[in-house]
Structures are given as structure tokens and as C-alpha cells.
């Protein structure tokens, strides 16, 4: 059976090639550098309005949470805090989200929320840019957008609830790693997905911290990615220990990763030789702290993030804040907050969990 290049199809195909070459040759094409200076147009909703710190908080607000994915224990705690706050605010709470942590499926949900005329969308972005056009459509429709956990691009949300400063978390991860390694030796990072915004900014700070003279004896040998999948993280932890026999500490700044790594180490010959630390949930980590696989790990209280997001959203929708730097609002039991640069609202310092205090936390 022979394949001959059909003349009928050859013509259009070669036309395409010639036309594209001609276009390039003219030099009139649109390239990355020719568009680099185009300003990304943000809707004017923030610019024109003025903040009135004394405006009363509106009741009956429809506040919807769109986490990275549903059925993730960490996310459940986050939005659980949001539900409590929406209750206090006498609003309508809603939770929607994809089962896979993909950017495209989040867009469909944002579109649905626009149609449902929500007042506030609290979103943890899977891809900071892919959700942008639809978030801006939401803002044009008068919906306030609060990013939490993982930020969307600055141009398409009103405020971002930062669980802790990137700097603070990166520093605390290195500090714990250094204490556990006794100040010197090989360490490795077990992260989530390679393009998770939050993970990468923490790892960037860790690298700067590790470059400092006091950490000169600590060596970051590998960054592995478990994709926030239990099985993959487990295998990656296993791989790290096999590839780097002198490894002293695995730092996993993700709840899925740290639990999977701890599960592997607690049942292996490495127990007691290799320390696990990072960011984890007390309920998931309790058994590994009790069996002394894990000496210490850190986290902010995720319920507080969801809680603060609801209050920030309500403050935006009520006109108390617009997302500009320096504006202040009250967030129920968490107290007073000030909007920082780029619309960031920092939750507070992370909490360190050890065998001594872990039983005080239930999330």
C-alpha cells in the first residue's frame, strides 16, 4: 500500500507555509517583545471607588469558594473556616470546584458563578494567568474577587489572602531543616506541582536563605515533585532516599507530600536517620509525631485563611476597602487587618507543631 503526496492537499499545505514565511519576512509579526509593553488592562472597579472604612458590613452576601480542587483535606479545612465566617456575616455560603487541579476546569466554574450573580468569589488559582480573563469578567459584573492560598495575577483579583509572607515561610522551612540536620548536611525538597505559585516562591526564598554564610554547610541536593498526589509523593520520597544515601532532611512544603514522605520513612530503615519536616496538617501528621518520625513541622491555621477571605470579601463588597495599600478592616475573631502592597493581606506567622503542642490542634 503506497502513500503518495496528494497534489490536491499539497497545494493548501504549501500555501500555508509560504504565507507564514512571507509574513515573517516582512517583519510585521506580533512577537513577545513587541507586545511586552502592552499594559494589561484591569477593570476600573478598584480605581474609581473610594474606600469608606465606616461603611456597615452588608448582610446576605453570596460568597462562593473555588478552591484548587475539592476533596482535599487541607482545602476542606480552609473552606470550613470560610463557612463559619460567612455564617457570622449572615451571608450565603457556596463551595464549588473541580476534582482535578486543572486551570481550565476552574474557568468553567468561574463562568458559572458569574451567571449565578455571586457577590464575592474566593479563589485559589491553579494557574495565575489562565483564570484571569474570566475573573476580570466577574469583576466587570460587580463581583469582588478574593484570591487565597495560591494567588491569581494581580491584575485580575481585588485582594490576596497570603497565609504568611513568602519570606517568613521560606525562612522557617530553612530554620527547621537546619535544626534537624544539626547545621550541616544534605537536604532535599519534596514539592507539589512544578508550577504551583506558592511552592515555587517558598523554594526561591529557601535558596536565598541557603546561600547565606550561616547555612553554608547545608546543601540542597534535589527538588522532587509529588504533584500533590499521595502515591507519586510516596514514590518520590522513596527515590530521594535511594539516590541520596547521605540525605539528612526532606523538607516538604505541602501537606500531601509531607504525609506521604513520613509514611514511607516511618515504615523504612531510614526512620530515625532521616528527618522529615515542612508544612503539614496536625491531624495527618499526629501519628508520625507520636512515633517520632517527625520532630517538628509548621503551618498556619488553614481555617483562618478561609475565614479571613470571607471577611475581606465582605469588606470589599460593602465598600470598607477597595484593595489599595493601607486600608484597614476588621475580620471577626482574627482582629484588625491592613491591606499591604499589591492588595496582599497577610494572615500572620506560621505555627510550629511538635510533640509538645500537637494535641491542642484539631484540623
Amino acid at each position: 500500500m503506497s502513500i503518495r503526496f496528494s497534489r490536491r492537499l499539497a497545494v493548501p499545505l504549501s500555501t500555508v507555509a509560504v504565507v507564514s514565511l512571507a509574513l515573517t519576512a516582512c517583519g510585521g509579526g506580533t512577537t513577545k517583545s513587541s507586545t511586552a509593553n502592552e499594559a494589561t488592562a484591569a477593570p476600573s472597579s478598584t480605581g474609581s471607588a473610594k474606600a469608606d472604612p465606616n461603611a456597615p458590613l452588608k448582610e446576605g452576601l453570596k460568597i462562593a469558594y473555588l478552591p484548587k480542587q475539592l476533596n482535599n483535606p487541607y482545602t476542606d479545612v480552609e473552606v470550613g473556616g470560610g463557612k463559619v465566617a460567612v455564617g457570622e456575616l449572615k451571608g450565603e455560603y457556596k463551595l464549588v470546584g473541580p476534582n482535578d487541579a486543572s486551570a481550565s476546569s476552574q474557568v468553567s466554574y468561574i463562568n458559572t458563578l458569574i451567571q449565578q450573580q455571586q457577590d464575592v468569589i474566593a479563589v485559589a488559582a491553579n494557574d495565575p494567568n489562565a483564570v484571569c480573563p474570566s475573573l476580570n469578567q466577574a469583576r466587570k459584573a460587580g463581583i469582588k474577587v478574593v484570591a487565597f492560598d495560591s494567588d491569581a495575577s494581580k491584575s485580575c483579583r481585588d485582594v490576596f489572602i497570603n497565609q504568611a509572607t513568602t519570606q517568613g515561610i521560606g525562612e522557617s522551612l530553612v530554620k527547621m531543616a537546619s535544626e534537624l540536620a544539626g547545621g550541616s548536611g544534605e537536604i532535599a525538597v519534596l514539592s507539589a506541582t512544578p508550577n504551583a505559585t506558592n511552592q515555587n516562591s517558598w523554594i526561591a526564598v529557601m535558596k536565598t536563605e541557603l546561600a547565606k554564610p550561616e547555612n553554608a554547610k547545608l546543601k540542597l541536593v534535589k527538588i522532587a515533585y509529588g504533584n500533590d498526589d499521595d502515591q507519586k509523593s510516596f514514590t518520590e520520597a522513596q527515590g530521594l532516599l535511594q539516590s541520596y544515601p547521605n540525605l539528612k532532611v526532606i523538607v516538604s512544603p505541602t501537606t500531601v507530600g509531607i504525609a506521604a514522605a513520613s509514611r514511607y520513612v516511618s515504615a523504612s530503615a531510614y526512620k530515625g536517620k532521616v528527618a522529615i519536616t515542612g508544612l503539614g496538617l496536625p491531624n495527618q501528621m499526629r501519628q508520625y509525631v507520636k512515633d517520632s518520625t517527625v520532630k517538628k513541622f509548621a503551618l498556619w491555621n488553614p481555617a483562618d485563611i478561609g475565614y479571613l477571605a470571607a471577611y475581606a470579601g465582605a469588606a470589599l463588597k460593602s465598600g470598607q476597602i477597595t484593595g489599595a495599600e493601607g486600608e484597614k478592616f476588621k475580620a471577626g475573631k482574627l482582629g484588625d487587618y491592613t491591606v499591604g502592597a499589591d492588595g496582599e493581606i497577610v494572615l500572620g506567622p506560621p505555627t510550629e507543631f511538635t510533640a509538645a503542642n500537637i494535641d491542642q490542634f484539631n484540623f
Binding site: 500500500m1 502513500i3 500555508v16 506580533t30 512577537t31 513577545k32 489562565a130 512544578p194
Partner: protein, 340 residues
């Protein structure tokens, strides 16, 4: 019987004869679902939601068109979503290396055609089973996408292009991309149902041997169908990238199953030889609008998957059941009219 009903009956009979019972049934079901959704689901019938709906079904609708022809010949192409992903990744990578987008887009289309030709080569020249070949290239092309772009995402595509993809025809609520869908649907519909190529596609699907005796070259036909399938998947990759303003290697992962589901729901036989493009368009629209309406009604994602799964089973089961019933009715009639 009035003349009107006679005419409409003969018209329905004509449609049925041309496209088959299932096609008429699926179009009717889709229209009923759309009417019910518009009447009962808040905000389903708005023009903005129509835009969202069209954008959501865009990649599935495009890829389903050549997929219909491929499946009618009795083959399958499961690599389409990975071709889409690789097209997206290459687009991002070339954009990062400062190539003009006017060059990048034709390159991505050409790339899709080449990837399709690779499938076609393995299936027609080497005679390997298309299921195995395209499962292989599904993994291969997705892997290459990650080689090209790694795990990064490229986002800063020119607003002129991204706005066009997400925008409407000026002054109307009709999304721009609907033009692409309609244009390609018409082309594929005409080719399949009104040209010798289309007749050859059905002939090959019904019996490759018989088609060969009738002067059709099945290998050549299938090869070019794979090329077109790849080309359209490449185009879908470009549009996907512009719609989300994000080129990523994992774009469109899993889309092939949605496409095959829509094509089968549209009444195309997985064994080849049977099917009609209007039914496939209805299948795509039915799946997308059901998902959209259920989401607007706050039905969970798990339930959405269940609905899609049940629909697919029904679509495979119903024509067989209908045939069985018709067969038994005809046998009975035969007995009564010919008592001897």
C-alpha cells in the same frame, strides 16, 4: 391524514433514511434538553452563558469532526488530546523564543498535521491496529509536550488574539469561535455526506475489502484522515492556548475521552460504517449543555461524571435495543401479512 402531516412525515422519513434513526433521536433529545434547561435553570438562557457554553465545547466540537470520519472508517485516534497539548507547548516555547505569532500558528497547525501523519503511517503503511498506535502516540506526544515546555506555563500572548478567541462578533452575542466551529462543521458535513470521499469513508467502514473492489484505496484515505485529525487537533491546541492565555504541556489532558464519548453519543458506530455528522454535533452540544446546566444548578462534579457515563452507555445500548425491537416487530408483521 392532512397534506401537512404527510409532507412532514415524508420529510422525517427522508432525514431518517439519510442519517438514521439515532441521529434524528439525538437531535430531538438535544433540542428538548436545551428547551428544558432554558426554561428551568436560572441564567442558562443568557447570551453570556451561551458564550461560555460555546467556549467550553470548542475543543471537543473541533476535534470531534475529523474523529467522526476516522471512527466511521472503523479506526480511532486517541492521540488528539496529546496533539493538542504538544501544539500548545510548542506555541508557548516558540513565543518565548520571540517568534511572531503569525508564524507560530501555521507552524502549530503543520505540526498537528505531521503528528497525524505519523499515526497514519503506523496504521496504514505498517498496518498496525489504530487503538494500539494512538494509545502509544497519546503517551508519546504528551511526553514530548513536557520535553518542549517542561512544567512551566507561558502566559503573555498578545491581547488582540486572546480577546478575539474569547470575544463576540461585534454587536452580537455570537462568539467569534462559533464561526470556526460552523465553518469546519459545514466542510466536514459536506465532505462526509455529499462527496465521493464521504462515500468512500462509509464504504471502507462497512467493508474494506468491498471498498477496495469498488476502486477505493482504504490506506490512502485513512492516512489523510489521520493527517486532518492531527491538523484540527493542532488548531484546537492553538485556540485552547489563546482562550486560557496559557500554554502548558498538560493542556487538554483527557479530552480524547470526551471527544469519543460525544461522537458515539452522536450515533457513530464504534465498529465503523455508520454515523452522521449532524448527530455528532448534537452529541457535543448535548454533553456540553447538560454539564453547563447541571453546574448552574449546583450539581457536583461527581454527579456530572455519572451523567456523562450513563449517557454514553445509553447511546451504545439504545440503537441496539431499537434494532432488536424493530427486528421482532418486522418478523411479526411478516408473519401476519404472509400467512403462508
Amino acid at each position: 391524514m392532512s397534506a401537512d402531516t404527510a409532507v412532514s412525515e415524508s420529510r422525517t422519513a427522508g432525514l431518517t433514511a439519510r442519517f438514521g434513526n439515532w441521529t434524528v433521536a439525538i437531535i430531538a433529545v438535544t433540542i428538548v434538553v436545551l428547551i428544558i434547561a432554558a426554561a428551568t435553570v436560572n441564567n442558562f438562557g443568557t447570551s453570556q452563558n451561551f458564550g461560555f457554553l460555546v467556549l467550553d465545547l470548542l475543543p471537543i466540537a473541533l476535534v470531534a469532526l475529523p474523529m467522526t470520519l476516522v471512527i466511521v472508517t472503523g479506526e480511532i485516534d486517541l492521540s488528539v488530546a496529546s496533539t493538542l497539548g504538544l501544539s500548545s507547548a510548542v506555541m508557548g516555547s516558540l513565543w518565548n523564543s520571540n517568534q511572531p505569532i503569525e508564524t507560530i500558528i501555521p507552524i502549530c497547525l503543520l505540526l498537528g498535521a505531521v503528528l497525524g501523519a505519523v499515526n497514519g503511517f503506523f496504521v496504514t503503511v505498517l498496518g498496525l491496529p489504530s487503538l494500539a498506535v494512538t494509545i502509544g502516540t497519546l503517551a508519546l506526544y504528551r511526553g514530548l509536550a513536557f520535553v518542549v515546555l517542561g512544567d512551566s506555563a507561558v502566559a503573555d500572548f498578545p491581547a488582540v488574539y486572546t480577546d478575539w478567541v474569547t470575544g463576540n462578533i461585534a454587536g452580537t452575542p455570537i462568539p467569534n469561535v462559533l464561526l470556526i466551529i460552523v465553518a469546519l462543521a459545514v466542510v466536514f458535513g459536506v465532505v462526509l455526506h455529499a462527496t465521493p470521499i464521504g462515500r468512500a469513508v462509509f464504504a471502507v467502514g462497512a467493508s474494506e475489502q468491498a471498498a477496495r473492489f469498488a476502486g477505493v484505496r482504504p490506506g490512502r484515505l485513512k492516512f489523510w484522515l489521520y493527517v486532518v485529525s492531527g491538523l484540527v487537533a493542532g488548531l484546537a491546541g492553538v485556540l485552547w492556548t489563546l482562550r486560557y492565555s496559557s500554554a502548558r504541556a498538560d493542556n487538554g489532558a483527557g479530552l480524547e475521552l470526551a471527544v469519543v464519548a460525544a461522537v458515539l453519543l452522536g450515533g457513530v458506530s464504534i465498529f465503523g460504517g455508520k454515523g452522521a455528522l449532524p448527530g455528532v454535533i448534537a452529541g457535543v452540544l448535548l454533553l456540553a449543555s447538560l454539564q453547563n446546566a447541571l453546574r448552574l444548578s449546583d450539581v457536583s462534579n461527581e454527579a456530572l461524571n455519572v451523567v456523562t457515563g450513563v449517557l454514553l452507555i445509553v447511546s451504545v445500548l439504545a440503537p441496539n435495543l431499537a434494532n432488536a425491537v424493530r427486528g421482532s416487530v418486522q418478523r411479526r408483521r411478516h408473519r401476519t401479512t404472509n400467512p403462508l
